[in-house]
Symmetry: C2
Subunit: 180 residues, 2 copies
């Protein structure tokens, strides 16, 4: 799929999903796309765990309370970060994993799958992410920060987020200037 088409077609899909398994080859391509993203000072702070074992998926979902309604994808990718400094006291781990996630969302879209960036729901004060980490055997030093379902969407796109017009968020040569 063309890059601009994937960027335009990507949207947050909250399920339901078809049960068709996602081939390992596709999960690998999606993870390769994620890990191809840049990172501050090339510290490569992002790591990934793809999950396609139904038992592991079920154990992960059991940690999510309240559950993600209709999220029944046959696979998922969990995003891990190491919050190490790129230099001195400067850490770009959030930038690093966010760029990786966006790459994966575009790869997921280009391959005909759907997904949704679930972060706040699992990293909130009840720390669902730590329970997910325990399921996956994630060692100390890594934080699980995002859960990305991967699967074929079971219904037409609806409820795509409405965005402000371009001229309210982008300008030329000075803030607020849309003319040359």
């Amino acid at each position: 799929m063309d890059t601009f088409d994937a960027i335009e077609a990507r949207h947050s899909y909250r399920g339901p999903y078809l049960p068709d398994p996602v081939p390992r080859e596709d999960l690998t391509r999606i993870m390769e796309a994620g890990l191809a993203a840049p990172s501050g000072c090339n510290k490569q702070t992002t790591s990934l765990v793809a999950v396609d074992d139904p038992q592991v998926l079920a154990r992960l979902r059991a940690t999510i309370n309240p559950p993600l309604k209709r999220e029944n994808a046959p696979a998922a990718i969990c995003v891990l970060t190491k919050r190490v400094n790129a230099y001195r006291d400067k850490c770009f781990a959030v930038q690093d994993y966010s760029a990786a996630i966006e790459n994966m969302l575009l790869a997921i879209t280009a391959l005909g799958y759907a997904s949704c960036w679930y972060e706040g729901h699992i990293t909130d004060d009840d720390r669902i992410c730590d329970k997910m980490s325990a399921v996956l055997g994630v060692p100390e030093g890594y934080d699980l920060v995002c859960y990305l379902p991967v699967g074929r969407p079971d219904r037409a796109v609806r409820g795509v987020a409405k965005k402000l017009p371009l001229e309210q968020r982008s300008w030329f040569n000075a803030f607020g200037r849309t003319e040359a």
Copy 2:
């Protein structure tokens, strides 16, 4: 350009650039790609200022000390963020602008241009970003967080960041597990 090709071809290019101007149409497409990125609770915290006026570019560059060697691109995009909360005390502005930047880097690559994500250099303790904001008339409430040159590269790619092998950063069904 195919999505996976753009993801693979994107790299941090530190100049020099050819002087050919970047058409407004291309800058607009790049900014549209950036603003198509998702944002936490759709708060759309990211805004953009494209700069193609040579005088404004010169004033921006004059704020960058030490200067970015060989960075002489004919255009640039400055990334602004509003650090508003998505809900309660949770702010996803860094995630939002990072996803937008990655989309723009892919769009830049797909259109045959080069760029580099300059963030730490301008947001460091000497706050070059605030001087850049003053040049662009950015009002209070917005932080300038990234400077993306846009132009045709003037030399072959070299010095592309080396990355760890996939099996050291991605696994299946459990941390560190590469086998089924």
